[in-house]
Symmetry: D2
């Protein structure tokens, strides 16, 4: 499989490195608008065939089978559209597109032309998330009550997208994968402290059927990095702390206790927890390695990838609704 | 000062102990509906004068100057009203009342009769919160951007009140004290997983002028206790983690950096923080000791307590609006 | 059972409280040389029969069955000797005595008179240590390779004993209980930074048969409290951190891996661990409650207590040898 | 400056990368006995001139100015000797040599030929250690009382050297740099649980003048990585935890309090600490980048490097004495 990679900014070199490491994949070309980025790629990966500042050299090349796009969100749709139109499989950096409509167009086009669309929801391929998925799917957690995620980065501001489009794709894609269902409504709160319409802190509530509640806090403005998720079920609860070096996933061996006797409450209040905690061994393989492999396999086996275009669409749908809710002053946006 | 204490459940004995330790205060009587609680008090505090199952023995006693009420929320208003009507100063467990209207009635009655009303917003008297207050009031944090608080207890369910009335008074009273202003609108999300109308998880957004945002997550259903607050300003940021034994308050010596150059962002993204962090020494005196002293002083000096009836009213106003928002499906409730 | 308690300084009131809570025990008398301590006891525990500044009122009282001694170490032996001579069971604060010879005399006297001697090795009765004991005794850890304990308090200096006699009884008694065997040699290092012969930091190595190594670091001079123990076996390893509120005991599901291939080492070096970790539920019952109960039961059932005089002797033997080694410049002291 | 690098196992590629990044340095050749390691270097660093399995191609090359050696400890001396004999500056992986005598020979030879010898004591160049050095040298810590270091890796066993030669060079070189003086005696304890004479756990005590005590615990056999150092002075104390992502260095604003009143002790015992704690901003530049730069500068400026041959000798002297002490059953080995 010959691939071309468009965009070599922050994340692009990681994609080049991981696709380059696959035996069955050849990186035929890499493009970036900045020549110094191409120089960097050339030095680091001498095996890369063509280095070009013109993405069209990739999009129109007859000997490229698949295109990997790692550019700014606003260009995802036009680049993706051209790639698919030219008969190339598509690997898109998250989020898939800037709107639901764009995502739907890409998916439909790919379907018509029998091409693959995959989105780089990297966290879905981490050992931590895969381990949690097993606990949920095996029924060990019981009925899921809520999913609460906090993702905080360090006071960095961008100019093209707000904190929801920047950070929430991680949490939303993890939530989508783990819960395996779609919310029926979204409400969000956000504040832009510095530039109008570029929110730097936001809270997103996602309402599912059966009282399942999702909540995501994304934040550019905090003194320390936080990446922490609570998932609570009727049988067990999970804390997933991605900043923990060695105990990323903790599974607490207890469900809910409905206490009816107030005196009993006094006794329990002084306790920290009532069950065992297990921190399972987590596979520390670089997630992006598995991502690259999954794209190759999906194309090769002619099957949807784990994070296919539909997964990308579901994530964009939630992000779009969250932004709409903020524009409407926190109004609940129904998705059904 | 002779005081009577009504209610000796979970918190009552702590009040007895701390008022008992004040030289200028005599606990003339203690009441509780359960005789075994009175037996317990009698054994632990032999100096307490009268032990009675009838609260009226306290409310009507001619030689009692002040009444301390630590009963279920629903009884706060009738008991408080009778205490004030009988000319007694009033110390009320938090929250002050179950409705804004009740709080206003108590405050007005106290004003007419020149009596003190104080609410037991205990956390406001902790060394940690007092230290943070000094950082804010001295201007060291700069302009405040947001206040984010998470308070999680351990899967305990109560039948009379939901998690907002149970846990949020702590966060709301801390936020009220530290920010020193009132929100203009509230929106909240909550879910009752077990009993209808008894929410066990809730998220409250509070909107202030000038883009200041407050957010509170209260939760009965989690595997570990969490009590963590982020306060972010233009000059410094604070993390207050009440579960930390020795470093409850961390002050980060950095404000916001608006980064315009994308390459610079890549450099910074790998860093954890860019300034020093100070964990100031925290006074570990039991907060309730200071609470009891403040009540005595306020009565003695005929001045409002730090957490007077108006502070109690402001907290109840936010709690009431949060519950109203949940009942209305997350609708924003304006307070102005 | 009627008991008398001698010494009500720092720890004494905890003993009074816990023995007082036992239904089958009556505290007939409490003595302390300082009247204000007796006043304090009288107020807190009105049920205590006699309060006296003369320990002999207890030691010679005909209606006292057992004596609890919580005085300075130097007085343990004379007081214990008199108690046993007068036919009273003996409960001694740790360490049992200041010398091995004294401990042996007390044990022999008790044996001759068929009386119980118990030492307050409190930590042996904590839920954490009891849990670890179960893991070891069930064989789950496999062969034990080493026991490493660090106990640091906060720069407090005492004048009567050094840091070994002050802090190490905790670690040594835990080690004695968990390992269930006696070392054949001891070596220790210690420094007295402030007063000659009052070491404030010390390291003790204990050599057992079969290459089992014990090591204890005790320290008065550090900025934070540390109480951390590593126990490593061929099948599992344990970290016991007593300062952790909720995860005091962590059991790591891996033993030793002897890696022969150097390339394999490079792969493993980047990993943190290779097995699961279990933090079992720990019984949080106050250990001293179980200690008091054990003393009563041992007397009542005429059997040795879990931490009987022999356990006390074994601990004193190690402490004495450690001090001897320090006096001899770190020389190894043989115990066999 | 043309350099040749001998040995490309675990650490070698890091040296290649960092020397390669220096503008004034050209990597003329790299050697390793394994061809696949050379292939790897060739792919990653196409700019490297010669790749060879014969170290002599480097040692005898007329156009190489300096040799970097990253091979097994046993080969350090013969390779270093040949490099210096051939007039090349020498950069040696830690530890400098396997014996004191070897280190002395290399230093003398280099002196005679006016060549530089530098040892890769990497940690000495970390932002954390440099920050601590400033606190010590500025007198802010006051008189230093002890240096206590724990370094634990994950149950990996090597066959050529024991845990002292493998891990302790880090701690000893940090201690040497920070304290700036040499111990007068060493005592050590160690156990080889698996292969005779290959100790996998060891404790080293280093005795300095004026009651300054050093203590190092190195360990291959533990469930988690630990890298923690306590440095205690009369004015301040420092905790350096290298596994902490964001707060590696904590400076506690308190010295020792000698408490004479026993009642005061009871009050203090319940406190965790009594001063402020500062976690200064740490420079996170890769230490090895600074190491490579220092070697170039030392050669270029014809001056000793920060970690010159004498520093390497001082470290080897302590390691050798520690091993000797273990062979002698823990006997104290004098260095003066």
């Amino acid at each position: 499989m010959n691939i071309g990679i468009i965009g070599c900014g922050y994340w692009g070199p990681n994609l080049v490195r991981n696709f380059n490491a696959l035996d069955d994949v050849t990186i035929a070309a890499v493009s970036d608008s900045k020549p110094e980025r191409l120089d960097y790629i050339g030095r680091q990966f001498p095996a890369v065939g063509v280095l070009t500042t013109d993405a069209d050299d990739i999009l129109r090349s007859p000997n490229i089978d698949a295109v990997v796009i790692a550019t700014a969100v606003s260009s995802h749709f036009p680049l993706g559209l051209e790639a698919l139109s030219n008969g190339k499989h598509l690997f898109m950096e998250k989020p898939l597109t800037a709107t639901v409509e764009q995502a739907q167009q890409l998916i439909e086009l790919a379907e018509r032309k029998n091409l693959r669309v995959m989105v780089d929801h990297t966290f879905v391929y981490t050992g931590a998330v895969e381990t949690i998925k097993q606990f949920i799917d095996s029924g060990q957690l019981g009925e899921i009550y809520y999913f609460d995620s906090v993702r905080v980065n360090l006071g960095l501001f961008q100019h093209d997208v707000n904190v929801i489009w920047d950070l929430a794709p991680h949490d939303v894609s993890i939530m989508d994968y783990l819960l395996g269902r779609e919310p029926r409504a979204i409400a969000a709160t956000g504040v832009a402290h510095f530039e109008s319409d570029i929110e730097n802190i936001a809270y997103i509530s996602t309402y599912y059927d059966n009282n399942l509640l999702g909540h995501i806090h994304v934040n550019w403005l905090a003194p320390v990095k936080v990446r922490k998720t609570l998932i609570s079920g009727s049988r067990k609860m999970i804390i997933y702390d991605d900043m923990e070096p060695s105990e990323k996933v903790k599974v607490y061996d207890r469900g809910v206790e409905v206490v009816h006797d107030r005196n009993q409450i006094y006794d329990i209040l002084i306790q920290y927890r009532t069950g065992d905690m297990l921190a399972p061994r987590i596979d520390l393989t670089e997630a992006l390695k598995k991502v690259a492999r999954e794209f190759y396999d999906a194309v090769h086996e002619n099957r949807p990838a784990r994070t296919d275009g539909l997964a990308g669409l579901r994530v964009v749908r939630i992000l779009e609704a969250a932004n709409k809710s903020i524009r409407d002053g926190g109004r609940v946006v129904r998705l059904d």
